[in-house]
């Protein structure tokens, strides 16, 4: 209150000073406080329930099987994956003969391990755009799925995800790197 009075007094004093000086006629805008700068709230630890509650998925621990491969964790399995990637030409999602050969082998592995579920990641090189590459990555993964299904692998074992060009396998900026980054990459996600 006292502060406001003092501030008001200052403004009035300026008017008075302005009135005394013949040439000066300061135009005052109404006294307003700027909107307080909104500080972002801390990121939600527990997202709100309306309209949709979001909780982190609880990891499921795969059952241990009496099987050489099953004794290693999924990470170990994926680190030395028996599943081969499929590589693509620039701006293309067509599977070439080498790609088909890789998928033929992958289909055999999947038939030997009928409980395995896999996720096929679609990846692109940096010569595409971040946006369109999402769709292209998806189409590459979908092409691999379609071919595996044609070999008799059940659709419910095959998930896809596109990462566009977000996670290149080779950080280089030449064709040697790009050719590795245009790929359908296989990850064993359950066994």
């Amino acid at each position: 209150m006292l502060r406001n009075t003092a501030r008001f007094a200052l403004v009035v004093m300026m008017f008075a000073a302005a009135a005394c000086g013949s040439k000066k006629a300061p135009v005052l805008e109404p006294t307003t406080a700027p909107p307080p700068e909104a500080a972002p709230a801390p990121p939600p630890a527990t997202p709100r329930s309306n309209p949709t509650t979001i909780t982190d998925a609880t990891p499921t621990v795969p059952a241990v099987r009496d099987d050489a491969l099953a004794t290693s964790s999924l990470d170990d399995l994926n680190r030395n994956s028996p599943l081969r990637p499929v590589f693509f030409a620039s701006d293309s999602s067509d599977i070439d003969p080498q790609g088909k050969a890789a998928l033929d082998e992958n289909a055999l592995v999947l038939k030997q391990h009928p409980t395995w579920g896999i996720t096929i990641e679609g990846h692109c090189d940096e010569r595409g755009t971040p946006e369109y590459n999402l769709a292209l990555g998806d189409r590459r993964a979908a092409a691999a799925v379609a071919y595996l299904r044609s070999l008799g692998i059940a659709a419910d074992r095959l998930k896809t995800v596109s990462y566009g060009k977000e996670f290149p396998f080779d950080a280089g900026h030449d064709e040697a790197a790009w050719s590795k980054n245009r790929r359908a990459h296989f990850v064993i996600t359950s066994k």
């Binding site: 502060r3 003092a6 501030r7 007094a9 200052l10 403004v11 009035v12 004093m13 008017f15 008075a16 000073a17 302005a18 040439k23 000066k24 006629a25 300061p26 135009v27 005052l28 805008e29 006294t31 307003t32 406080a33 700027p34 700068e37 909104a38 500080a39 972002p40 709230a41 990121p43 939600p44 630890a45 997202p47 709100r48 309209p51 949709t52 979001i54 982190d56 998925a57 994926n78 701006d91 940096e126 010569r127 595409g128 755009t129 971040p130 946006e131 369109y132 999402l134 769709a135 292209l136 998806d138 189409r139 979908a142 998930k159 896809t160 995800v161 596109s162 990462y163 977000e166 996670f167």
Partner: protein, 447 residues
């Protein structure tokens, strides 16, 4: 000569006396004066140091910050010419903001001078400024602000006011950017490859006050500000496949707009903030869809074998531009916002993407593949189809977005090594790097 606290006290006492002696209801003259330069040239402005009316370190620091930030803010729109500080270094500081040495300013051909003061009042600042027309020796604009905001905020407020009143222009000093950053360096879990988490960050328009607004610990990307600047739609891979989330960043709440089926990405708010257009593979491959902002009422807008991505709304919300590979490599197309009627091809380049419609002009910025692995930013006039190139081969230049006043473009570029966020004018000048920490991409610019 500086105001001491004693002189302030005296001034207050005098002011109180004046208030008692004089009726306070007088309204100032409203003089609509635009400060002009000589013969059509931009007016020459100066922003001498704001006076610190209290002698404590915090006030002195705030006065310096406000002066520097205001100078940068006013310089940003290239509407005024600025007199170098060294040129007016010899002009003594004014005793008060209403006591300018007009003759001295006139000597160095100043047209307009912004004078201001900062005073500490309890735990708040009291900030006053005047914009003087040096020829007429009149204050043409002035205001007083108080509060406990960051000093930069006052400078931004003053700058926006000067642009509005002097130029009829919506400044951007209080707008924000959002982008995706890997600066936290956290390793993504659930993969044997070395992949780094990306989180959504926001900053002021000039890159200051960078703050993280997500804790997804996953790939979070493609942020898009809601028109009211209170929420950010973005894409998160936290569920495995990409889906669209809306973070109400000032409420600390998060909505899940899509939960499959398929992959859902590239959200774009309608100008009225009621709907979100996006790309989804729910029916097989990427097509354009629109939903209410809460995710309800999903409707498919494109229906064909091509990949359709990256929607952006026209300023009136009646049209949507998007990327499609229906003719080979991706190009930009136009359709009505309800998806009815024909689709028109807009661009004829080798490979283009990320159309972003200016909200103030009928122009669309986009990224266009250039030789090698490069991309450059271009702008197309939707009516005349004239294309203007803004960047010229300095690295990869991606993901352009217009400032809300249509006068600037933010984009990501790897011209200095890692990808960083930059802004430039809408004709490609005054390129400014806003981020330096980690890799920062995929900007969005708030209203």
């Amino acid at each position: 000569m500086k105001y001491t606290s004693l002189s302030v006290a005296i001034a207050i006492a005098l002011g109180l006396a004046a208030a008692a002696a004089q009726s306070p209801q007088q309204q100032p003259d409203q003089i609509a004066t635009t400060i002009n330069g000589d013969s059509g040239a931009p007016p020459r402005f100066a922003v001498p140091a704001f006076l610190a009316l209290s002698n404590d370190a915090e006030t002195i620091a705030a006065a310096k910050t406000i002066t520097d930030v205001l100078w940068n803010d006013l310089n940003y729109e290239h509407e005024f010419t600025f007199i170098g500080r060294d040129v007016y270094a010899t002009i003594p500081p004014a005793k008060s903001i209403d006591d300018l040495p007009f003759d001295r300013w006139r000597e160095i051909n100043a047209d307009g001078v912004v004078a201001g003061s900062v005073q500490k009042s309890g735990n708040q600042f009291l900030i006053r400024y005047r914009l003087f027309d040096i020829r007429s020796r009149r204050a043409v604009l002035g205001a007083e602000y108080s509060g406990s905001a960051n000093p930069r905020r006052y400078a931004h407020t003053i700058s926006d006011e000067i642009f509005k009143k002097q130029r009829g222009l919506d400044g951007v000093a209080r707008t924000k950017l959002s982008f995706s950053s890997d600066r936290d360096g956290e390793r993504l879990t659930g993969t044997v490859e070395k992949r780094t988490v990306r989180e959504i960050y926001i900053s002021d328009y000039d890159g200051e006050n960078q703050q993280r607004v997500t804790v997804g610990r996953t790939l979070n990307a493609f942020p898009s500000w809601s028109p009211d600047g209170r929420s950010i739609a973005y894409v998160s891979w936290r569920r495995g496949q990409p889906n669209i989330f809306v973070s109400h960043i000032y409420d600390g709440t998060l909505d899940e707009i899509t939960k499959g089926p398929g992959e859902n990405y590239l959200p774009a708010w309608s100008p009225d903030g009621t709907r979100i257009a996006f790309s989804s593979t729910r029916d097989g491959h990427a097509q354009i869809y629109v939903a209410n902002k809460d995710g309800s009422n999903v409707r498919r807008l494109t229906n064909g074998p091509s990949l359709d991505t990256t929607p952006t709304w026209s300023p009136k919300g009646n049209e949507i531009a998007f990327t499609s590979d229906r003719s080979g490599l991706p190009q930009i197309y136009l359709m009505s916002a309800d998806g009815l009627g024909g689709v028109q091809r807009l661009t004829a380049e080798s490979y283009v993407d990320r159309p972003t419609w200016s909200t103030t002009t009928n122009e669309i910025a986009f990224e266009s593949r250039s030789g090698g692995s490069g991309f450059d930013i271009k702008v197309i006039d939707v009516n005349s189809r004239t294309v203007k190139q803004l960047t010229f081969g300095e690295g990869k230049n991606e993901s352009p977005v217009f400032s809300p006043n249509g006068r600037h473009v933010a984009f990501a570029s790897d011209r200095s090594g890692k990808f960083q966020i930059y802004t430039m004018t809408r004709d490609g000048r005054d390129v400014r790097q806003l981020t330096r920490n980690g890799e920062n991409r995929l900007p969005s610019w708030s209203n």
